[in-house]
Symmetry: C2
């Protein structure tokens, strides 16, 4: 077993470590530090306007000459039902009032923004694009391939992995149920649930089904997780929570502390923050929403309806009214620089491989 | 890294592979074959009367001179609410009628049966006892230790592992959320849920918290899973689903086929069969129970209420009205002898360790 393989060559990186998109929490410093330390930094651009994306890419390019990625959310099917949005707005009213926030104007044109982001990625010569929530259409894939941009998809089941491979992506992030933040799923199970397959199960089953390289994610925080993932059939790992608590991350110290003080049993899967299922630390917002007696509006509607409340709460140091994405291994989180984190993981991995 | 460590010495086995209890599906042939092949076979005695347990142990002792285990269910808190039992009996009536089955007489004395089983284990000189659903009391632990019987507990969270270690067990099965069958949990999370932590997360976090050996379980089916578990900090693995489809297992061919034809997304966690949460292949019984508008009676009440229906359905070849426990890696299940399964796992593990 070794740490370099097809994936380090394809991505042009020294170590098989990818920093997850973590929309809302990446900084150009984090992305560039990860890339400069031998991994692949990712700009979490899921919520960015094209203008913001262009700025962030320019900033990252000033900080590193090494490869980095941009993570984008593929537009997904959504239902806009005015009554349900009105109902949710009524429910959120007291919280908006408490934080002195206006009702938001919804921006429903995900596809326009996504296509514009693809144009920015091409213009700026971004080396790698990773996709969450689905597979881009064939026109988009062809455009990226024409420019030799490496395309990485996300799968939470074997079928999603096969669909990604058939569409022509270069590598696949296999997301286990331990992962923090949004589920990358774009299919449902036979019982109409979002797939929640543990990393120990999903990686070897995907490895048996496809030929392109796999990047394992979900619960991986250290050298043990990296080597275990390679043993299971992956060629690299993607980590979100592990990078969220590093010095360069954009997460607030409140949020970093919440992760470092959490137990492995403190997270839940919930769609109440954004309209899509995601794993985060349980808090009052989630409990209160348990009492909401209607469907939660689809992503990105619910995301836009709650976004300002969550931002304001986070800024005021209120951990109970904001999302606290975290995977199931918070006990392994370290508050160090991203460079030291990567060094420790590589040293631990080499020690394990030689033991 | 190597395949032998403290745990193979403590258990007196050649290979670090434990066959899970799988109450209702183990046979003396399976247990003895696993032990004779270098692993640790386990008699799944969770539902056995003391008389049945004694017979099974005697049979296993005739088939092997090597160590084996008995798996027992620790009696747990339960509420017997006559109205709720009556309601469930009314709901189950049409199914009992269809299968020509009488309403069962409930046997509520778990503790008496458990204590009797401990006496049998001591009298018969069983070398290893594994416990599910809790930690036995100190009197029981002292009795077993006095006879040099190795005690193995089950944990689904770090706190459960620490509690097991403090109680004096010799090793701990760390059960990840991928595992098929009953959750071994005996605590709930902050949000009152059964812990469902993926194997990739639970093993290293428990390894950092305790000093006694860990047996990893959940989603492990082959050499990749064994070596990955050792990398994560375990010293052995326990497998249920992988042994369920072997030739010596007591599972019906219907059940074996269902597992081998399943996808990783086909299982759900449900308490409708026994009153305790367990992972199994989704079917009509589970769907129908979704419509039941009352609490499911606690284990072992619900188990006894539905047991005859499930047995009769299984015997009639009806996979929709029986429990089909399976972990999240059914695509990796093999229908071979337990001996060949163990040989393959060890060969694959050695190849991985030397690669």
């Amino acid at each position: 077993m070794k740490l370099s393989s097809r994936i380090t060559e394809v991505l042009g990186i020294r170590f098989p470590i990818v920093q997850a998109g973590m929309a809302g929490n990446t900084t150009p410093e984090l992305v560039a530090t990860v890339s400069n330390s031998g991994g692949l930094g990712s700009i979490g651009a899921g919520y960015f306007t094209p203008e913001r994306l262009e700025k962030e890419i320019t900033y990252v390019q000033q900080l590193t000459d090494l490869p980095y990625a941009v993570n984008l959310f593929v537009p997904s099917q959504k239902l806009y039902i005015p009554d349900k949005v009105e109902h949710m707005n009524a429910w959120l009213k007291p919280y908006r009032r408490a934080f002195n926030i206006e009702e938001p104007v919804l921006n429903m044109d995900e596809t326009h923004q996504f296509n514009h982001a693809i144009d920015v990625v091409i213009e700026k010569g971004v080396p790698v694009v990773t996709f969450t929530f689905g597979i881009p259409d064939q026109i988009t894939i062809a455009k990226l391939k024409e420019r030799d941009i490496t395309i990485v998809g996300t799968a939470t089941s074997v079928d999603e992995a096969i669909a990604n491979e058939s569409a022509g992506v270069d590598a696949i992030i296999a997301q286990g149920s331990e992962a923090g933040g949004h589920r990358g799923s774009f299919t449902v199970t036979g019982s109409n649930q979002t797939p929640l397959i543990g990393t120990m199960s999903i990686v070897p089953q995907i490895a048996d089904a496809i030929d392109i390289p796999i990047i394992a994610s979900g619960g991986i925080m250290d050298g043990r997780g990296l080597v275990a993932s390679i043993v299971l059939g992956a060629e690299a790992i993607q980590m979100g929570t592990a990078f969220l608590t590093t010095e360069e991350s954009g997460a607030s110290s409140l949020y970093k502390n919440m992760i470092q003080q959490s137990k492995e049993t403190d997270t839940v899967i919930t769609n109440v923050f954004t309209g899509k299922p995601a794993r985060g630390i349980d808090n009052d917002f989630i409990h209160k929403m348990d009492e909401y007696n209607d469907d939660i509006p689809d992503y990105p509607i619910q995301n836009q309806l709650t976004s300002a409340i969550r931002k304001e709460a986070a800024q005021k140091g209120d951990a109970q009214w904001t999302h606290l994405w975290s995977g199931q291994s918070p006990r392994l989180a370290q508050n160090v620089s991203a460079t030291l984190l990567i060094q420790r993981i590589i040293n631990e991995s080499k020690a394990l491989l030689n033991s």
